[in-house]
Symmetry: none
DNA sequence: GATGAATGAGGATTCATTCAT
DNA sequence: TATGAATGAATCCTCATTCAT
């Protein structure tokens, strides 16, 4: 386990923390461990973050934001519901494949009493988009009338399930698999 | 937060641990806290469990077993794939509704380095059953040819997604919702 | 430096803390040092006190109380102002001689932002007594009309000065010296 | 709390240190805090002082010297003991009023294991002067025969008592009060 | 068997000091 | 010469575990 590559110390600390928190969990990771992996002194962590808690929070916010930036993008104009669905699902998959550790970290830390406001804002964006997607799809007769949270639960749940199996090596998150599940899910929600 | 009800001390300890580990996480829960909630002395924990780790492990095994006992039951003989699917899905739902804390606990802790052997056995049973279900369904033309792990990822992921939203109060795990998702999932996997 | 004698751990901790805080100061004394001198484990300190701060506070309150209990006693009824003055002054001296460390500790920690209420109550008793002493003495023509705080400043200041020199070995707090200063002070305040 | 005014950096550092050490205590004050208040970089402290300890020592010596320079001046030639006493007492009072922070600092820190040699020299001067004052006063029949340290204890103790009450706002160090105590003390030591 | 006070290793955090810029 | 980021030893405090009662 070499120190994470060079660059801004703050960035290195966040990278080291991501790796360790994902591998071992937040509580099981000691601050000096993060420092070591980041290639900085223990005390330096506290130049960039107020506390260990502040560090996870920053990490969580950072990745949550990147996730939403990657996933909640506009589908092509005049896209069919099928195309829009594909757009969102593949965004999710792209993120999970590009940043599997971050994806797992976000998933595992989802529950902590952290940051209600700061990170719920984009969460609400997500629900708004889901709602718009469904109401439009229902109107055009392409999509079943289901609750937005159900759609999200289905999509994130499926992705998380895949990620878990991929992590155990029982599955590869390749294009074929991604499209395969995409079809399953689309069949599940189409009218 | 009163001590959990009377009964076998070992059982009371496991119940207290389930509540606390689920609410606060394993590392954030102190052993004396578990003892207090269980209505026993701190030292008594160690009469029933070798260590705090042994306690989570026992807790995990216990509930994993109950989960499999409840979910991996035989569907009615000569059931169609649709009926069999419904059978398994509702088993999962029944467990999550009957024991939401245990469901969340299993979910949150399934990543820890715990017990490779002891709890993987039933996991393999699960995959065997999924495999059998699919191969039979494919043969009878009812089910799409998908990988067993994909089926499991889809089902457990969806259930977990629901549980998460239910926990946040944005969803109720009632019969209607359960069946709604069941339909979605079935449409997703049917041939 | 042997551990302080046997007895109630809480008492032993307070005794050890008194010695060390007086010798080295509060901030310069590490908690494990107190524990060692008290003959207990570091962690045990925290069974009896919430924090290091709580410990000094308890110590301060304890000794402040003992000080007032020893000093603010009733002089003989119908005592002259001279006798009453002697009574109070000798009470102060007796405390300083019986508990020189405590006397120095109280003196040195006097300024900290500690416990306004808890320890100011007796302080106010002291001022009330000084006030009564002066007003009675003025009425009987025995005492000069001075402000109560001036009387206290004079008495405590003098005692503290003596204590400081006694600590440096340049003075002995024997009866002769005590009476000598008593005469000085009395001459200073008598009408 | 703005940085202390312009001027020689060394001077600014000493001024900042005086304020902070007096307000918060030596151990409770961080070096970067002193630097900030002095308007210099942390590292610059170490260009002027070898260590934090060296800084307090320099500060202590500096003010102790100023104190003695202000207090241990020659009284008018052929002054009576009364006049000489007044001269010294008012010198002490003038210092405390001109530099209350320094006065409190000297008082609070005079116990530390600091500088045996460097600052004891003037202390001895003080005792020599007290001794001379008493022996002369005794000879002329103006002063009671008391030990020099007792005289010093009385005077410094009284001044310190006043300072403490002044700091709490229960007393003002005005001319009237100063003279009032002067009378008390003189009555206490006169033959 | 049950208890809970005592233990002390280990964790988060602070801060005097250094040194590259 | 001045700077202030970086260092890591030292601090306070927690908590899993033991054991005398």
């Amino acid at each position: 386990m070499k120190p994470v590559g060079a660059g801004d110390p703050r960035e290195r600390i966040l990278d080291a923390a991501l790796e360790l928190f994902e591998e071992q969990g937040f509580d099981a990771t000691a601050v000096p461990e993060v420092a070591k992996r980041a290639g900085v002194a223990t005390g330096s962590i506290y130049r960039y973050f107020d506390s260990k808690d502040d560090l996870v929070n920053a990490l969580y916010r950072t990745w949550k934001q990147r996730y939403y930036d990657m996933v909640l993008t506009e589908p092509p104009t005049n896209a069919t519901a099928r195309t829009a669905f594909s757009h969102y699902w593949r965004g999710m998959a792209a993120f999970s494949r590009a940043h599997p550790k971050a994806a797992r970290f976000l998933d595992l830390h989802h529950h902590r009493g952290y940051l209600a406001e700061e990170s719920l804002a984009p969460e609400r964006d997500g629900q708004a988009i889901a709602e718009a997607f469904i109401s439009r799809g229902v109107q055009s007769g392409e999509v079943r009338k289901i609750a937005p949270v159900v759609l999200i639960a289905l999509m994130t749940g499926a992705m998380r399930g895949l990620l878990a199996f991929a992590d155990k090596g029982e599955l590869t998150l390749d294009d074929a698999t991604i499209r395969n599940i995409e079809d399953c899910l689309w069949n599940g929600i189409k009218a």
